[in-house]
Symmetry: C2
Subunit: 652 residues, 2 copies
Amino acid sequence: MSTAAVPFNREALDQVLKRRFFFAPAFEIYGGVSGLYDYGPPGCAFQANVIDTWRKHFILEEDMLEVDTTMLTPHEVLKTSGHVDKFADWMCRDLKTGEIFRADHLVEEVLESRLKGDKAARGIVVKEEEDEDKKKRKKKVKEIKNVKLADEVVAEYENVLAQIDGYSGPQLGELIEKYEIHNPATNGKLEPPVEFNLMFETAIGPSGNLKGYLRPETAQGQFLNFSKLLEFNNDKMPFASASIGKSFRNEIAPRAGLLRVREFVMAEIEHFVDPDDKSHPKFKEVEHIKLRFLPKDVQESGSTVVIEKTIGEAVSSGMVDNETLGYFLARVYLFLVKIGVDANRMRFRQHMSNEMAHYASDCWDAELQTSYGWIECVGCADRSAYDLTVHSARTNEKLVVRQPLPEPITVEKFEIAIEKKKFGPKFRKDAGAIEKWLVNRTQCELEDLGKELKENGKIEVAVDGVENKVELGTDLINIEKVKRTEHIREYTPNVIEPSFGIGRILYSIFEHQFWSREGDADRGVLSLPPLVAPTKVLLVPLSNAAELQPIVTKVSAFLRKQQIPFKVDDSSASIGKRYSRNDELGTPFGITIDFDSVKDNSVTLRERDSTKQVRGSYEDIIAAIKEITYFGTSWAEGTAKLTPFDSQSTDA
Amino acid sequence: MSTAAVPFNREALDQVLKRRFFFAPAFEIYGGVSGLYDYGPPGCAFQANVIDTWRKHFILEEDMLEVDTTMLTPHEVLKTSGHVDKFADWMCRDLKTGEIFRADHLVEEVLESRLKGDKAARGIVVKEEEDEDKKKRKKKVKEIKNVKLADEVVAEYENVLAQIDGYSGPQLGELIEKYEIHNPATNGKLEPPVEFNLMFETAIGPSGNLKGYLRPETAQGQFLNFSKLLEFNNDKMPFASASIGKSFRNEIAPRAGLLRVREFVMAEIEHFVDPDDKSHPKFKEVEHIKLRFLPKDVQESGSTVVIEKTIGEAVSSGMVDNETLGYFLARVYLFLVKIGVDANRMRFRQHMSNEMAHYASDCWDAELQTSYGWIECVGCADRSAYDLTVHSARTNEKLVVRQPLPEPITVEKFEIAIEKKKFGPKFRKDAGAIEKWLVNRTQCELEDLGKELKENGKIEVAVDGVENKVELGTDLINIEKVKRTEHIREYTPNVIEPSFGIGRILYSIFEHQFWSREGDADRGVLSLPPLVAPTKVLLVPLSNAAELQPIVTKVSAFLRKQQIPFKVDDSSASIGKRYSRNDELGTPFGITIDFDSVKDNSVTLRERDSTKQVRGSYEDIIAAIKEITYFGTSWAEGTAKLTPFDSQSTDA
């Protein structure tokens, strides 16, 4: 067997995924809605198994605190987190046709097609375009004109394309103007790019006054529960919370199947850590693991050559900032390999500063290589103290860790004293708001206010919710630098966030594990690892003969009791056909029941990838299946005590 | 031990659920949003275990086809299903204050408080109101006036309350007028009830033109995929699909904690069955199971006395319509008991015709008794062919089963013949639409059209999308009754739908399994069955002594390898305190590690409910835990080989 004998063909894979209902466009009988997909039975089971593995690999192993928070989120929360203002893409509208384009994708497409036209004009043979998706889009382009471009224009275009993820909206607008980019289908002029917020908006409650959104990530629900989680964890630090669930992004023009959708399952970890100590107690266990890195300085030099080194070296050299981040990169790697990702088609790419999300201070993406290019599947961001700080400032709820100090320390800080007896009567109903405002000033602000107070004998401040400016004289307040002995250290933790896009991972695994049997391109095989395969066993009676029925029932009952997901295929198709069907479904094992089985309870076990077969009692066979599937035993080891079997060659 | 020694106290339970972070109001630091809750770690794990059990009990056992379909749903789909027009509650607005009331709840509250006032005026002692939720609402009511009502008014009020679920909006409006019901807080006049659609609305895509909703149930996604699922099932009938996921309802005034929320997890089964044969092959396996029924005729007679009988008798007497529906009622019962519902506080109530959902032809609810009353937790509806029929009519996609007939049959039916040569040139661009319209007429319509055609030599019809009325003469079409031999039977399946509200079930189990230790009302215990308990084992080292650490590590590693969820509590609290904490968390087993453990690897196992203890090697103890938790073995049987242990009494 060789899984590489027939070159990968995306169209063949797409047909298998469709035919076997791994997934399909949602609302297809209504014409579909782009960016929305339904998972059919095998896709749904594969997804459930990947999630189950994720839960064991991360949550159980690390004792993480899993939460399930709501998707509906009020405006105020996402305003604070920055999503209302910054979670947006740029779009251009063709006012004549009403068509809408995502600005960066449009520039990319048009420049790419001009470069292609240039190559053709220069007589350079371009490899056949195999991308179905791009083919469709290409149809929109009136025609690719074979026009030779000046050498410096080619260089300019290539330079733009290399940095396409980093342009702001106005910069994209300038490129569109400069390169005369129009609606590719009609050549119509486009409006300059405008921002489009990617969140779905709705109204909560009957009055329609409470604006809300569908969450764009699961993270916010975890941050808002920080204090409860810390308490649940008996105030011990560091700790991680985790959440698995749907998030939503109203993509401007979704494409590329499962890779860019409007509703998707995320699995996110928020690891809360002391900003002064990002070491990790289990880092030693993973430091020898080799990963392929693409750090930002390499990218900025225009190269995409990966550096392979151990995560231990990567952390000690400072390329990866700290042990905790490094620990998670290695754990992400181990997880992805376990569920079927090809390690040779995985890399960890560091974000360049101009592409980082608004909340991140550093970010490494686990990217998987597919026929659509390198796809970001897991983002590992250091969100620093951003989220906890902004929510705390907005709500006046402390989101901090309070840690007894081993030795008390002396600190100098500015403090504000309020002359309550005069303060209350003077400001009456506003007194509370003004006091709250004063108490919430930072050290820096207090220093300035104190200076002003000393110089002018009063300060004038604007307080939210109080009509006029508030004048405060030295009769009412005093601001002084004082020395204090502290027994408690109070800090806002930093957050390291590994964030998994489950749909993208599933699709990448399909590409990594799909191949065709040698000499027969039509016989596709999906080599999903047994642990995550939708169904573990196909039970195949040799024929429809009534005498086989009792043993089929007996083996079925045994499999059900062992909680091994299986299917019976007692259709009249040939054994070979039945196995081919299940090769496409990624079912790793086949059990054939024949007339000998009736006599001695023996059955044949077939392995999907090698089509090797062994024979034994059904109890022994099923014990071997269980070992291989759930405990990582190899085929050779798991079947060592069973008899090799090569008659009844079902794959001829 | 007696679990009933201390009377149930909802406030005590609420405190435990809050203190141990089973769940909490979402966005609490922002003041919260009513009807939205987050699950903390134990609530989330309990939910995950219940879902896992559901998957095994229903999907694996019955070979159902699980799908995961999108929550975002375009307007057109929910317009067709009837939800846009009919999925609504009635609300009244106080135009002065802006306050909004759900009309039926308002009538209920006000009449109940008047009846209470009447009882007080008559000197009848009313039991202390323990309902926290109602207490809060009562505060809104200016005061309950102790006014004696006329006997016939009391009877009238009671009659209204008994039927409160059955009134239409206009009827509620009449009641509000007749009984002079005003805003209870201000006595302000209310506007007449208006319909409020319970779906959350949003816009899909950047143009804002594609209106969509968050799904109110998971069912529609399953119906729309019917043809793909039937094909995946090799065209075999009957079969069931299933789906687990969030649904959304924009409740007017959510109350009662987890029982009425705006975002909730549902698990729904759509069992597709031949309308002419609703027998079930496995009905025999459940027919002996006794259930408690409250059929509609009993309710209509004004009684709520349940009838206890076997599901076999219920089906054979015709009270439950058919075997498939009966089979699911029994399987629902078994599932609920398995996850911790008290069988004595469960009943199956049949819907009265005026309360049925717009799509249902019959419906039995599994209701669970709580301190809030009887709560609908699982609806088992016969949706007949409603959904498949309306979607098929709207999309012109056949959603049918085609079944080879054992013997060909002869049928007479009306058929339409089109004179294509004249038809096409005459109607040109409209020809397609008109032909489609003609082909989609029912037999009944064809009979009428045929008659008209014969009488007038022509018919005039209105076709969607064609501007003017279409005139069709006998030169263009012919409608005749013809005899045909048919080899295929084509039918639209009926759907039996068991639909589970997971949050309501979880909350009911909390109430059913919460109790306090005798003599100590403050020591609450949550007796969740081991199978679904959030954590299975609490590992408790007797002290912080360093010499205990290696054995704690060894036992932890063993538990992790066996994939048994556990927690270590090495805090300095007393063993009794640590166990109390975990009684509240519903952890069924405790393993105590002491200084003997260091010598001989023996540990003590404690059972939560009985506080019984046994001793043995940690491997034997963990094997027993595994048996009891995952294979339903009893405590007595599972620990038979271990040594009873009664020193080190940790619960003194």
